[in-house]
Point group: C2
Chain length 306, copies 2
């Protein structure tokens, strides 16, 4: 079983870039022809439209990028039919050798966290048989509940050779309300913001299981919308892979994202969701063409700078 960070590194090297295509299927932005064909008389019809769009999107981006990140919220918004679509799309992404990060930001206390984690990774055990559910390569996890609530995700991920990305510094404008609160250092040093304390915990978890590439299987979500914090975290968390949201639509630039990488181009995946799924279309060109161009532009922008 290959270590998660090594699989991720292999995928990044094979594709020659570290772009993660976010799957954020917002109904109102789906191509008109897909919406019209499926209609929206039921949530099941909407889920079918979402699935067709995401499947065709994967067809375009799978040869180009190493990673996809489905956003659970948009599939849950279509109810059980949306979750069934998510399950099939994750399978399709795996079949295309994409590394899959399920963006669920899940969190709960011990045995409940284990239920989320088993579903995300290796499968749920029922009467000693294992039933796969989402089979993602990684899951995003919220750290607010602390160590014993995060560790079931790590245990389950490690059994499956999967990874966990813990929210450290998120990309939203209000992220600092709690994440930036200054906490005095326990050793009497200068106070540091909460997110750096969370980062320390992530680094410790990550060092428990390093891959050949030198990175651990516990990564950190660090928004590019705060480039100074991103650069600081890269220095203090050298073994932690960063999942970097906020590029493009949210305002992050290629120059901002550069510090997320180690010298050899590993150590981060840069997510773009709306910028790749719903780029501006030139005239009446097919939407797949727009997506392909947006993906290539994003890859070039990041590669040219890193």
């Amino acid at each position: 079983m290959t270590h998660f960070a090594d699989r991720l590194a292999d995928a990044i090297r094979a594709k020659g870039n570290a772009v993660c295509a976010g799957l954020d299927p917002r109904w109102e932005l789906l191509p008109a022809e897909i919406r019209a064909r499926h209609g929206a008389d039921t949530l099941e019809a909407a889920a079918a439209a979402v699935e067709e769009f995401c499947g065709r999107f994967l067809d375009v981006v799978a040869p180009l990028v190493p990673v996809v990140k489905p956003q659970a919220a948009f599939f849950e918004a279509c109810g059980p039919a949306g979750m069934a679509a998510l399950q099939r799309l994750l399978r399709q992404a795996r079949d295309r050798k994409l590394v899959t990060i399920l963006d669920g930001k899940r969190n709960d206390i011990a045995s409940t966290a284990a239920a989320y984690a088993d579903a995300a990774f290796g499968g749920v055990v029922i009467d000693r048989r294992v039933f796969p559910v989402w089979e993602a390569d990684a899951l995003t996890v919220n750290p607010y509940l602390g160590r014993d609530a995060v560790e079931p995700f790590l245990q389950s991920a490690r059994k499956a050779g999967a990874g966990v990305f813990v929210l450290v510094r998120t990309s939203n404008a209000g992220a600092g309300q709690f994440q930036d609160l200054l906490v005095p250092a326990q050793d009497g040093g200068a106070p540091r913001p909460l997110y750096q304390h969370v980062g320390d915990a992530v680094a410790a978890w990550s060092r428990e299981n390093l891959g050949r590439c030198g990175f651990g299987d516990v990564g950190a979500v660090v928004g590019v919308t705060y480039p100074a914090e991103l650069a600081e975290l890269r220095r203090t968390l050298p073994e932690v892979v960063f999942l970097v949201p906020g590029f493009g639509t949210q305002g992050g630039t290629a120059a901002d994202v550069l510090p997320a990488f180690r010298g050899d181009g590993l150590g981060a995946v840069v997510n773009s969701s709306r910028g790749l799924m719903f780029p501006s279309r030139a005239g009446d060109e097919p939407w797949e063409r727009s997506v392909e161009r947006a993906a290539k532009e994003t890859i070039a922008a990041i590669a040219g700078k890193s």
Copy 2:
């Protein structure tokens, strides 16, 4: 549209207690006859067993308690079929006039949070039509991402007359790793733990929309496993309804939970999950009888002390 806190207060007064029955259907604890009848050859069969058990559990507890709290993780663990079961069980609970709290601990940045929230409460809007998804009366939400990530949940809840319970002090043993970090007060006062800063934010949100009963529609999750913190938070957050996990199996006692309530018995709901769903059975009594006895004992224990 009745305010969430008033609906909750009405339900508590009608039943004469503030017990919340947690729906945590763990496969390995389901009654043997239900497991045997449905089998576990597929996740769909497991979901059917979970649904039958939870439905019969609701039959027993609906006349006794005012609130139920399905734990999303255990339904997600059965895949899309489990989510369909969750959807039907939430409907069944509403039909029985139970207040429903979906325990999802969801969190994400703005427009993504809105997708979770619309699904949880009033429904998802597709081509100007509203499609109900979970139709819960309340949802648990994780605050780590800050104000602009929590507010879409409040906006969506308020449109539907629903409520939000924000994680403040969770019941797990490791909760303090981040929640107890001491943060200096901005006004130069004594440092206070992070969870109290989160509590302040919850109080401010709650005061934006108070019901006739004097409580707001933004509650706080506060574990009874930390009774001193619980009592302190009751003093500092007088308008905030507490959802109190940790009673029973996790170690909280009736005396511990007393300080969660206002003098008139409102202001908190005390959750018991495993203690009600999977109580010890006296001899070969039917499991429904054990559940009924456990529910009545829990109600009496809390009422006798509050």
